[in-house]
Symmetry: C2
Subunit: 280 residues, 2 copies
């Protein structure tokens, strides 16, 4: 890791078609010091082996994606979600991920009651906190863009995530800020500053418009869209956030690009748009 | 108009491939008492002729779509937007539309500065208020879903619209609440109630997930999606809103359906999901 890439982490979803071992090697070669992991990779390699690979490459695991999806039409569904989250917390601990990102879940199929769904999220998080604490894993509520409210997350803003997290200590329940999901919010900067020590992670991709096709896959490299990363970064610094910046891009075109080329772009854009002011 | 359709208006965008004269006749035959017009129809028929047609059919014009798009990269662009809005206000007055819906505009091409864009919206509305007042037309700021923040509206919530409207009397600057754009907002009910007399109109379509393809065209008939119209309607009643409910559905499949069939569905769904309690 060089000074110019200090603080940069690659979420492996950005290089989805690269095997995890290749992602790890690629990051090390590109001077990227952090890696965000996904559970399918964890389950494929096993936590012990994956942790060894990461350590041997000199990388730091910055987060595990993902837990959550607490909402369900019935009690067995919610119990199954909790069981899956408990496994996710264990996996995070085993691979050394300090943070488990929570995508909280949308409306259950056929459901229309947002307050009930939001209560299910509240209850789910509360049920997980003791285990997360004993495992040394921080839960990070990730507000998702409101276009995912129906099917992925009834939590749509940093302020809403902060209200959900409020009953718990910041070290147990934090907030994952993802630029793509929150940039539009007129209150995002003040919400981030107000959240202060709750900010548990910062994921980035850019918003490229017009939005067409699969809205899950529309994210762009930093600088290809319209998000003001200087403004978001300023809010995060004002909140006291000094953690990693994790580049997470869902985009078929990026996925079709050879991994090393993607990593070069990630590093170049990080230097240009995201890295803090050069030291002295 | 029968009691069961009292308060129902059809926004002509719902039957886009129907000529305006046919929409007017269709509404009258279906017992739909209100019609929301679009400017292309107004310009095609001329305001005087259109006003006569509507009046002869016994309909009420409930709104004109639309003004706005205040944001632009340079001063000539913003001046052109204002000129277009002035024409829209005249057209609204000439066709008897009490309300001009404002879709405020997104970031200018290449732009990333949301506060600047929002200031342009503020300035644009302020510039129009005197003319709107003298024409007897109410400007209605329409918050759009945050997925349109980049390219259509930097105004994304009822609360944000209310803050924009605050400097002006409610009779001059109100808020157009569109279910599709605001349903996800955890604060939508309290924002509507707080907006009270600012609520200038209520447009409805349903959110059908998953969201795919052209996100502009994904809206569904009331009841086909996940929006809790009872909750939204309750908030509007609590706000004191007693105006029209205007069904506005952008959907290629709906557009491909014969107009009379669409109107039957609109009426049936209105009775089932939207009409207030039957008079005792």
């Amino acid at each position: 890791m060089t000074a110019a890439t200090e603080g940069l982490s690659l979420n492996q979803a950005t290089t989805r078609h690269w095997a995890t071992a290749e992602v790890i090697r690629g990051c090390a070669e590109a001077g990227i010091g952090g890696i965000g992991l996904w559970r399918d990779a964890v389950e494929q390699l096993g936590t012990a082996r994956l942790a060894r690979l990461v350590r041997a490459a000199g990388l730091t695991v910055t987060s595990l994606c993902r837990g959550g999806f607490f909402t369900a039409a019935d009690a067995p569904g919610r119990a199954a979600a909790l069981a899956d989250n408990r496994r996710a917390i264990e996996q995070a601990a085993e691979v050394g991920a300090p943070v488990l990102a929570l995508v909280c879940g949308g409306l259950p199929p056929g459901g229309r009651d947002l307050p009930v769904a939001r209560q299910q999220v509240t209850d789910g998080i509360a049920a997980l906190v003791p285990q997360a604490e004993s495992c040394g894993v921080r839960l990070a509520i990730e507000p998702l863009h409101p276009m995912f409210c129906a099917d992925r997350s009834v939590v749509s803003s940093v302020a809403q995530a902060a209200a959900l997290a409020a009953p718990f200590p910041p070290a147990q329940v934090g907030i994952m800020v993802d630029s793509y999901h929150v940039w539009w919010d007129p209150a995002v900067a003040e919400s981030i500053v107000a959240a202060g020590p709750r900010i548990a992670g910062y994921q980035v991709s850019d918003w490229v418009s017009p939005l067409t096709g699969d809205v899950l896959m529309a994210r762009g490299h930093i600088g290809d869209g319209c998000i003001d990363f200087a403004a978001l970064g300023g809010a995060l610094r004002a909140a006291g956030y000094q953690g990693w910046t994790e580049v997470e891009i869902f985009n078929e075109r990026v996925w079709a690009t050879p991994g090393p080329e993607t990593l070069r772009t990630v590093v170049e854009r990080y230097r240009r748009y995201l890295a803090g002011p050069a030291p002295g």
